[in-house]
C-alpha cells in the first residue's frame, strides 16, 4: 500500500478546562476507504474529526494528510487544506436562509481567489457542477428552495452535495445521521457511500449506531473515553466488542456518564463531549 490518505499519529487533544477528548490515538486511513468511527456520545469522535481540518487544534501528536502534517498550515495554506477535505455535520449546518443551490455552491468558495463568491455570484461552470451533484443526489427539484424548507434527510443530502462540490480528497462526516429517522439514515448513508466510491473519495464517518457501521463500513474504528479500542473489519466487530464499547462502565462512569474500560484507563480526567 502507498501513502495513507490520513494518518493519525499519537493524536491528543486536551481542552483548556482539562478534559481529555482524544488520547494518544493512532491509525491510518487508506485511499478510497470508507471508514466508520463508532463510539458513544462523548467518546471523542467529533474532536478527532475536527483535528483533521483544524477546526480544533490538536494538543499533541499529529494528523498527516497524504503524508504531510496538517499542523503547520496557516492562512492560505490552511484554507487549501480545508478545501481538499469536505465536512458533513450532525446538524447539517446549511445556511438556512440561502437556497439549496447556494449552499452547494458554498463548497466552491475555497477554490476562488480574492473576493469572488463573497457576494453570491458564482461562475457558470460551478453552477453547472453544483446542479450535476444535485442530480446525482436526487435533489434537482429542490435547487431553488430555501434550505430551511427541506426535510432532514434532504438537508443532509444537501450537506453531502456541499462537501462533494469541494472536489475533496477526503470527506469527514460527523454523526451525519444522528438527527435523522432510520429510513432517512439508511438513505443518506447509502448516498454518501455511493458517491464516495464513485468519485474515489476517502471517507471518515462517525456514527453511534453499530448496525450502520456493520452495514456501510469497509473498516471500523471504535473510540471510548478518547482512546482507540478497536480497529478492524465490520465482521470482527462482535457483539461482545459492542457490549464493551457501549455498556461496560468503569468506576469513572459517575463522571458525567463518561466511560472508560479498565484496559483504557488513565489517570487524567475524562471528558464529556466531542462536544465541539
Amino acid at each position: 500500500m502507498g501513502t495513507p490518505t490520513l494518518s493519525f499519529v499519537h493524536l491528543t487533544k486536551r481542552y483548556r478546562d482539562g478534559t481529555l477528548a482524544v488520547s494518544d490515538v493512532s491509525f491510518d486511513v487508506q485511499p478510497g476507504e470508507f471508514l466508520v468511527l463508532v463510539g458513544r456520545s462523548g467518546a471523542g469522535k467529533s474532536t478527532l474529526l475536527r483535528c483533521v481540518n483544524r477546526l480544533i487544534e490538536p494538543t499533541e501528536g499529529d494528523v498527516l494528510f497524504e503524508g504531510r502534517s496538517v499542523r503547520p498550515h496557516r492562512g492560505r495554506a490552511l484554507r487549501a487544506l480545508r478545501r481538499d477535505i469536505g465536512m458533513i455535520f450532525q446538524e447539517f449546518n446549511l445556511v438556512r436562509r440561502k437556497r439549496v443551490i447556494d449552499n452547494v455552491l458554498h463548497g466552491r468558495l475555497g477554490h476562488y481567489q480574492g473576493l469572488r463568491g463573497t457576494l453570491g455570484a458564482f461562475p457558470r461552470e460551478d453552477v453547472e457542477k453544483a446542479i450535476d451533484i444535485l442530480v446525482r443526489l436526487g435533489l434537482e427539484d429542490q435547487a431553488l428552495k430555501r434550505a430551511d424548507q427541506l426535510s432532514g434527510g434532504q438537508k443532509q443530502r444537501v450537506g453531502i452535495a456541499r462537501a462533494i462540490a469541494q472536489n475533496p480528497k477526503v470527506v469527514l462526516a460527523d454523526e451525519p445521521v444522528a438527527s435523522l429517522d432510520p429510513a432517512s439514515s439508511e438513505n443518506v448513508l447509502g448516498f454518501l457511500r455511493k458517491i464516495c466510491k464513485e468519485d474515489g473519495i476517502t471517507a471518515v464517518v462517525s456514527l453511534h449506531q453499530v448496525e450502520y457501521a456493520r452495514e456501510f463500513a469497509d473498516r471500523v474504528v471504535a473510540m471510548k473515553g478518547g482512546k482507540l479500542i478497536f480497529d478492524g473489519s465490520p465482521e470482527e466487530l462482535s457483539d461482545e466488542r459492542v457490549q464493551e464499547l457501549y455498556f461496560v462502565d468503569s468506576e469513572e462512569s459517575a463522571n458525567d456518564g463518561e466511560v472508560t474500560s479498565p484496559a483504557t484507563h488513565h489517570a487524567s480526567g475524562q471528558r464529556r463531549g466531542g462536544a465541539a
Partner: protein, 272 residues
Amino acid sequence: MGPEVARSLTRIRRENRRQLVIQLVSLVIAGLIVWWSVAGTGFSFQAMVRGVPNILRFLWEDLLPPRLDAAARYLMPALETLYMSYVAAVVAAFASIGFGILGARNLVPNAFVRYGSRAVVSFLRAVPDVVWGVLLVGVVGIGPVAGVIALTLGAIGMLGKNFADAFEDIDPGQVEAIRATGANPIQVFLQGVWPQFVPAFISWSFYRFDLNIRSAAIVGVVGGGGIGFALITNIRLFQYQAASMGILFIFGMILVIEFLTARSREAILGRA
C-alpha cells in the same frame, strides 16, 4: 394531627408572617419615597384639581377645532421630517453594522476592541436624542442638518447594540461549515454570517426608522427642522388651532409610516 403536619404548619405560618412583614416594610418605603418626591417637586393635588378647568378651557377654546386649512403649511415640514428620519435610519443602520461586528464576541476576539465599540454605542444611547439635538443646533445651527445628525447618533446608540447582540446570536454551526470548505474570512462573513444577520438587520432598521419619526418631531422642537419646528413656531405665535392641526398631522404620519414599515418588513423578510 401528626407531629410532621404540626411542624409543617408552624413553618408555613412563620413563612406567611415573614412575607407580611416584608410587604409592610416595602409599602412604607414606597410611601416615604412618594412623600419625598412630592416635597421635592412641590406637587399638589389641589393645584392639579384647580388646574383641570384651565386645561379643559385650553383644549376646548384654544386648541380646538384644528384649523384644517393649516394642513398645507405642514406638508413640506412633514416631508422634511420624513427625509430626516430616513437618512438618519439608513446612515445609522450601515454605521451600526460596523459597530455591531466590532462589538460581537464571536466575531472579534479582542476584548479591548469589543468593549471600545460597545462603550461608544452605549454613550450615544445614554444621551437622549433631544439633548443631541440641542447640542447640534448649537454647533451647526437651526435646521434639518442638526436634526439628521442628532437622529443618526441616537439611532447608532440603539442599532449598534442590537446588531452586536444579533451577531452574537447567530448559529455557529453554519459559520463552521463555511469555514470548513476552505473559504477565506470575507467569504465566511458574507456567506455564513451575513445571511443569518439579515432578518435582525431589516427588523431593527425599519423599527428605528419608525422611532426616528417620533424622535424627529421632538428634535425639531428644539430647532432640528421638520414638522416639530413648524409646530413649535405655531405654538410660540399662539396659533394653537394651527398647532393642533400639526399634532394631528404628526399622529397621522406616525400611523401611516408604522403601517407601511410593518408591511414592507414582512414582505422583505418573507421573501429573503
